[in-house]
Symmetry: C2
Subunit: 146 residues, 2 copies
């Protein structure tokens, strides 16, 4: 139980640090943490509003405002599905994708001081441990954005 305490502690502190990094980088582009995440999700998906809400753990009404603001900035677009006319699909725009790519690079750079402190095999080990913690199969296949 004692080792667990230290692990939970390290996980919580690491996560808050990560959020601080992401929040800072996002705010440099006038993006909230949620907008940042939204953009990341849309890089390889074209979900409907309800699916996005489920992904993000938010109410559908929250998504309406979130997507509306992102659309107003030209980062995403909404399109009515032809099959089911109730459904609204959300997609990232070229401008949004470009911004997302720049954000990703900034995050990698911001974390470099930490990741550089680890040897190559430790980076691999840490990745695998985190994936195991999440209950994921570490097949080495392509990883998906958050």
């Amino acid at each position: 139980m004692e080792a667990d305490d230290a692990l939970v502690d390290a996980l919580v502190r690491t996560s808050f640090r990560m959020m601080a990094v992401l929040t800072r980088i996002g705010s440099e582009h006038d993006l909230s943490l949620t907008q940042l995440r939204l953009l990341g999700l849309l890089r390889d998906r074209r979900p409907r509003m309800t699916e996005l809400a489920a992904f993000l753990g938010l109410d559908k009404s929250t998504l309406s405002g979130l997507v509306e603001r992102a659309e107003r900035r030209g980062l995403v677009v909404r399109g009515k599905s032809p099959e089911d006319r109730r459904v609204v699909d959300v997609a990232i725009t070229p401008a949004g994708a470009e911004l997302a790519a720049r954000l990703e690079e900034q995050v990698r750079l911001a974390l470099a001081p930490g990741t550089d402190r680890l040897r190559a095999d430790d980076r691999v080990a840490l990745t695998r441990l985190l994936d195991t913690l999440a209950g994921e199969r570490w097949t080495g296949g392509p990883t998906n954005a958050p």
Copy 2:
């Protein structure tokens, strides 16, 4: 560089999952993520407003509202410092401390399915890797809350 991508990816996803867990547990007690963190910080500190703002990375004006709402719920108290009468010290109340303890236990329980998936030595290894990532000295001494 490729291994770094996977590591950054794992860190980001783990952190968002952690935030989701903390957000859910907090909301079960009508606490925002920030209130949760505030309570955790005050468990072993008695800082002034400005120090708290620095810890949390927030503006002092944000702290005023945050602490005001927590105080209204009886979780923290504000007291004017006798030496410098401009300064306001913030302390957790017994009720606040009790709630913080319950939250901590809930977090440990919520993460157990993941941490149980790791062997004991892997838990130790993961803790050390995260501490190294953060640039901390893993002296084995008592850990501090976020």
